[in-house]
Symmetry: D2
Subunit: 356 residues, 4 copies
């Protein structure tokens, strides 16, 4: 028997990805789709402006959209949230008070003291922090889309050599801005060198994710991060130019080896959404490129390439990740799978069913 | 009477810009258009695959394409070159030996000891270096398109505070790759995080341009530059995310003031292609953007925006320049105007006419 | 002395074009800029999300936005409207009742019995229809952006051979959808084969414009028009593939000649916005193209190319027009210039000043 | 045991699609990859400039590229060709003389008297024509990419109502132009209203495909086709605006029904690449769109939408097909599957193995 789940914000860009990925998920089954007031009661297929390149899954087309109240999610021990930041905080808390494990893609709770900010290959141990939350359910958060790709590329270097400073410039896809997002007239023949709040998120979230869980809190990593964020005319896939300063000497071949050999707890646990390998090292001179490499590992793996020394810091490279799969809905699914595997649903949620 | 000029490589992307700009130039007049062997003898309008958004100037449509030999440029004391690097070196030298002042957009001679690499607002005094060349004519070079925008943005900071280190990530336009350049399938829904040789050019050329002319040579500036170069789906306009470390403390308002008040020798001399002001400070949160700001100062001015402090170096900002106007043909015209104004043609060239 | 004018809907996409073109106009001078309630009182530069590739004209930056009431336009005998269809009808009528000559780009009054729908090169004589309007002012309308380009290309053929049937497929630019318009995610790597109401507008407006003014009304032209409309990833410039059936035999060389020799009343009157020639015949195999040819005649001329026989009708060709210049703001300016030249302002408006 | 196959022109755009699709094919197995002289001997992964959004299949990465001679394809009874038209004719004939069944995507043999031009859902019976070829092997051809989508959309209408005339305007994807294809500077912010030879192909091929096989030849269908072809900034997926004149009256609901209920011989035979259904009717007002619908049926199904009456002919609609899957490599695979199922390999080829 599959675990029934609810999706909050199901008609948005990330919500659509949740629906697409959940329709084929081996453990989870969509029971509730929640949207804003004006869509309540409409069948999903009618209310949504479907923008995915795969067809809307027939199994969800007829599901009637529900309100964002815990009562409506009755029977769903697991809730995925892609609500707008403006409403996410309160709504997610309400679901957690009602006993649900909420995996959120919104920024509202990310930096809260007792809320883990999870990239399962990087900091699966932070999950334990959620035990300290004071409601029957649990709020788990997924980082910002750019941060996820960045910390995945950094983690093997942190483990092998230590990382002291990071300079990153992003070229982010349009899908990251949701719907309607960036107007076509801003996207075509243009670059928008600003994404509100994005640089701050990358800088603060990276330290928390790479930080250490000590007794009762996360001690942020001692790493300086400087980010420039840009929007470019790409549908999916965030490309990042990164320079890093290591704490210990590193040879280029060892850096590559660290990426190639990297694996994480999701891979060891064999979680269904865990990509193998999580990081693809690409030797071509001009890789990675979003159109060619964003779908590696079904969009859950990141890619890295162009490793070379840096005149200012130690090394430079390019990394790419699929922003609405690994960087949003797919990343949140992996968090949920980790939580299920670690027993969070059985421990804390009412009405949970164990997975077959 | 206008000065008759020749354009080498007239059918290419930059060559077309030369033709467009020269057709309306107050001092210069196109007499010769030079192209590769297979186009020799054809009228320009027939041989060129015109890609500019302004019509092909009727005054040049019927000019028959000539060979790249100094004899063919007889009577043109001034020669603009946008030849491919493979043939530019030898051809430009031949014209210089024949007495012409050659202003080149190719990389072949840029780093040569006695060849000045000129951005007239930045290092007009380097022109004197050309006196040391051992042929009757003179070779003057225009930097790489990305370098020009970068050093123009840096120059006021170098003057006011000193600059010790620069980290730059470029998002470069398709027109910079010439014709046919980047295939459409690589351009749409994509970023190509590699441009052959470009990072090396930015790093080495910047030091030469910002260097000091001492007696008989250029002493490179003591500045570390790290560049990442990307190609994005933009027609014209290179956007650059820059972080800088200053040598002396700088308040943000003084940095802005340095840009706003900046002016150079071309502006003081009133050269026809000199933009006033050369640098536009843009206060909007999301400026500059290539489609909106590349044409400031008729494409000869650069723009800067988004000044903010940097967690790693001192300041971060975004700068934008038109790569085929300021960064190529227009920049070369400004170099030529400076050379004319400084008497280079009368001193060294045979057959020069003074401008009215 | 210039004629003071007001612009209704000044912050929108077409409104911005009005502002840009009026800032350099020899007869007209912007006195009032009118926008929606939430912008009233703000300086234009602050309220507008400027999307043009030329800078916001300094002369209008500080103009405070006013309400859309005739009182606010006091002293402006000429009013340009780019209001949304939802509010344009009532607002424009109010200005006309107050005595102004309103030149509107909205669809509200286009098909009204006594309102001329004007393309000055095509049907300048329809202007007289406005004499029959029952208010002190006058409402003149500019057709839909696609229609303008189409009827300009058809007019010489109508005059020379008669046109019985037209099949047209448009590929329209993003700027035609205004702001925010088509989301970037719909624009990149995509075609949207639908534009609400557009096909109906082309079909009905063409008949009215090409119709005959008989005593007291327009007798629609007897021409069948079938339109398919598509949105493509182009910033400016509507491309149209057209097949036509003539009433009389036509040789290809005569069709080309009809276009090349075509001229209209605006050209004869020497109106400031009249392009000379109004139609550019382009002989290249792959012309016209929006990026290369949309700016012919400063965006006021159309271009035609690829004339060839049609297996179904008689001839096929491609035509291109700049949708926000000729197809909107520039077209409306030309209408206003015609109205001024024909004495409409002196006859009917209160407070009109004659132009110098 | 799988049937060993060779791919001619394996490094090109369509060749890459062949490789991608064959790598996962249940009946066929790549044994030979053939490319131009300068690549011979190199491993495929090294010689190819892989442009697909799925990774290069590891099973072919190490295959060394061979020459285009029948000897090199020894042991491959089935050969797929995506050679350039310039060399395809002779090379394919040579393979057929050597006994191979050649399924070609090139235009060279398409209109030859004894060569069937196959869209298996439309004219599977034409396969018999190949029996009349005078060599031990067989040449089968796949139509031009635009033609395939068009005739698939027309076939149900031809069967139900007869089709007398077709007016079609295409908006074709960049991938159809191969590599390097359309320069990025021609693709971005532009439409190119011309594709060499394309209109002629659509017009002539449609008649042959929809024609009748009579005794010893194809009698072309009596249908007038007028085509305008355009290149737009889309990666994959050709969109076509179609108007049709029927021979017998048709109600809109019956037209839709004809599409919805359509099925063909590949579906009846259960061929592995046959999409079910072959045609998707999309009821949305703005469908189909290339980015959203090109992958229906794994890229092998076409979609139709926007059915409405036409003021000139009878009906208008929009159709979309994936140009490098259904319109090229995938279409050719379906042809090959039909040929295998019909016994062509066992009958005519030397060295053929029956499929398990």
């Amino acid at each position: 028997m599959k675990i029934p789940v609810a999706v909050l914000g199901a008609t948005g860009s990330v919500g659509q990805r949740f629906v697409g990925l959940l329709a084929a998920h081996p453990w989870f089954e969509i029971r509730r789709l929640v949207a804003s007031e004006r869509s309540v009661g409409k069948p999903y297929a009618e209310a949504v402006d479907w923008m995915q390149s795969t067809p809307l899954p027939p199994s969800v087309a007829e599901i009637k959209l529900a309100r964002a109240t815990p009562e409506e999610a009755d029977g769903c021990p697991l809730v995925f949230s892609s609500l707008d930041a403006g409403v996410a905080g309160a709504a997610e808390s309400a679901f957690a008070r009602a006993g649900a494990v909420v995996v959120s893609n919104a920024k509202s709770h990310r930096m809260s003291r007792n809320v883990p900010l999870l990239v399962p290959e990087v900091n699966a141990d932070h999950l334990e922090l959620a035990e300290r939350q004071d409601h029957p359910g649990m709020i788990l958060t997924n980082p910002n889309c750019s941060t996820i790709g960045l910390v995945l590329a950094l983690k093997p270097l942190v483990d092998a050599f230590g990382v002291e400073a990071v300079s990153v410039v992003t070229m982010q896809a349009l899908s990251g801005a949701g719907l309607p997002g960036v107007p076509g007239m801003r996207a075509v023949d243009n670059v928008v060198p600003f994404i509100a709040g994005e640089e701050e998120k990358i800088e603060s979230e990276s330290s928390k994710i790479l930080g250490r869980f000590r007794r009762d809190r996360i001690e942020p990593a001692d790493v300086s991060v400087s980010a420039h964020c840009n929007r470019v005319a790409v549908i999916d896939g965030h490309t990042q130019c990164v320079s890093v300063k290591m704490r210990r000497p590193a040879r280029a071949e060892d850096v590559r080896k660290a990426w190639i050999e990297f694996t994480g707890e999701p891979q060891e646990l064999g979680l269904p959404s865990a990509p193998v390998p999580p990081i693809h090292w690409l030797p071509e001179a001009d890789a990675p490129q979003p159109r060619l490499h964003r779908n590696l590992g079904a969009g859950m793996a990141i890619s890295v390439g162009r490793l070379r020394s840096c005149p200012l810091l130690d090394y430079r490279f390019v990394t790419l990740s699929h922003n609405t799969v690994r960087g949003a809905a797919g990343g949140a699914l992996l968090v949920a799978e980790l939580a299920v595997e670690k027993g969070c649903l059985t421990e804390r949620s009412a009405g949970t069913r164990s997975r077959g």
